[in-house]
């Protein structure tokens, strides 16, 4: 009886040693690029100048070398087009905006709502994916 108890305790100790040696490794996450500047709660109006010009208000703006990551964006373009989205990636080299989540684009007589939009600044056009809705008023 005693020997059985010793074996059982020994087994438990052995298990504890084995389990403590196991390292729960995670797959290495892709290193996130650090933004050069971060503007938080920046609901002041910023003017983006250069090849693509627009005014920008946002909750958070992360500025990278060739791109912006904008959260809670309100973007106004020349000609009166307005874009709202939860997340916007602005690629300065390609002059494109990738807007995601609760995207609204509106102009004089129409309003587009969707979840994913690629906006091509130079061509003044956009593509809406994964379902969208366009309302035309007279």
């Amino acid at each position: 009886m005693r020997s059985k108890l010793i074996i059982f305790v020994g087994f438990i100790v052995f298990l504890f040693v084995v389990v403590s040696q196991i390292r729960f490794t995670r797959s290495p996450s892709t290193p996130q690029k650090q933004a050069d500047f971060i503007l938080e709660n920046s609901y002041t109006r910023h003017f983006i100048k250069g090849q693509s010009q627009f005014s920008l208000e946002a909750r958070r703006i992360e500025i990278f070398e060739n791109s912006f990551h904008i959260s809670g964006a309100v973007i106004r373009f020349r000609g009166g087009v307005e874009l709202y989205a939860d997340e916007v990636q602005f690629d300065m080299r390609k002059a494109t905006l990738l807007a995601q989540k609760h995207v609204v684009i509106q102009h004089e007589n129409w309003k587009y709502t969707g979840e994913e939009v690629s906006y091509f600044l130079n061509e003044k056009r956009f593509s809406g994916y994964n379902g969208g809705r366009l309302v035309l008023s007279k």
């Binding site: 000609g79 087009v81 684009i105 102009h107 007589n109 587009y112 969707g114 061509e123 003044k124 056009r125 956009f126 593509s127 809406g128 994916y129 994964n130 379902g131 969208g132 809705r133 366009l134 309302v135 035309l136 008023s137 007279k138």
Partner: protein, 174 residues
């Protein structure tokens, strides 16, 4: 006098509200391509268009602001109350408030099944003109005529003066 003014104001506001809702057009689709500078859009796949009580489904739609016309292609279906139109091509003129259907055209209205070459649906007048040779099936009856008109308000089908074919609901073969 006050009652009359109040009633007329209420009538005008109701009329205004009705005009607003019918002026607005709502387009749902899987994909959109919108050109802002030319005010042109193309919508693709699972398109549902709503204007007032009118519902239109199609595979592709394109719109140009300058003409204010929507072109619909591919398995087009329009439903408005008891009227259902299926065709391969439909043109929606928003200024005239007219729908023009063609190619593999069929219209279903109550017990009538109407086949024709082209139709023009005048939304405000609630009149559907079938242009060219038109065949009407109603149960076992078949009527052929040219340029037949369906009046949705009067619930009546009638032809032009040349053919003199008149089918009135309730009086035909029942």
């Amino acid at each position: 006098m006050l009652r009359l003014i109040f009633a007329s104001m209420l009538f005008i506001s109701m009329l205004y509200a009705a005009t607003l809702s019918s002026d607005q057009i709502d387009i749902e689709a899987d994909r959109f391509e919108v050109n802002i500078s030319s005010n042109h859009f193309v919508a693709q796949d699972n398109i549902v268009i709503r204007q007032g009580e009118i519902i239109i489904r199609a595979k592709q739609a394109s719109y140009t602001r300058a003409k204010d016309i929507i072109h619909l292609l591919g398995s087009v279906e329009m439903v408005y109350g008891p009227l259902r139109i299926v065709c391969e091509q439909l043109v929606f003129d928003r200024r005239k408030q007219e729908l023009q259907g063609s190619k593999s055209l069929k219209a279903f209205y109550r017990s009538y099944e109407i086949e024709g070459e082209t139709l023009i649906y005048r939304i405000n007048q609630k009149i559907v003109d079938f242009v060219g040779m038109t065949t009407i099936h109603e149960n076992k009856n078949v009527i052929q005529g040219k340029d037949i008109t369906l009046d949705l308000l009067k619930n009546k089908l009638y032809s032009n003066e040349k053919t003199h074919v008149t089918v009135e609901k309730g009086s035909h073969g029942r």
